[in-house]
Symmetry: C2
Subunit: 112 residues, 2 copies
Amino acid sequence: MSNLSQTHCEPCSGNAEPLSPQACQQHLQSLPEWQIVEHDGIMKLTKPFSFRNFADALAFTQRVGELAEQAGHHPVIATQWGSATVTWWSHEIKGLHLNDFILAARTDEVAE
Amino acid sequence: MSNLSQTHCEPCSGNAEPLSPQACQQHLQSLPEWQIVEHDGIMKLTKPFSFRNFADALAFTQRVGELAEQAGHHPVIATQWGSATVTWWSHEIKGLHLNDFILAARTDEVAE
């Protein structure tokens, strides 16, 4: 369990600054297999999770959804047979906030 | 409720032929807002569904997942705040089978 997952999410307003590339790389070191990708000019944090079948992938999607609802911050979850890919970013700042890294760490926990 | 949704899915082996473009266009006429798109050379049937929030999108994802499990045929469902995009195709034939159109029609029913 990484310390990141235990960190409290901060309120994120549109005035917040996205994390610097250096800070992103630093947080990424404690998040195995997560990658930073750019979609439509927005940096996002993404990871594919593998499962034995569709039902297990869907159950994971449900758990990530509950986590997202608790945090008031929501990813995209692409669910299919044998995998679910979770992608976090902060819509308000069109980029990556510390909250995204915290929720990536918590996503790893609900995958276990 | 379209007749398509009441049609039984056929077993789809790798020997089955993908539907012709003409047959696809014909079935598409009874599926409002569904589009045929090409991803990595594979034709797929996709539609975004809008919801008031994340919880409603996730509940729809769960219903589509149950439908997929019953049919033994599985889409990709991209779930996020306010929407879920469902994409059907037949992996075995790397294209669109009648089953995909049947399940698209049933997806519309569980969205209602």
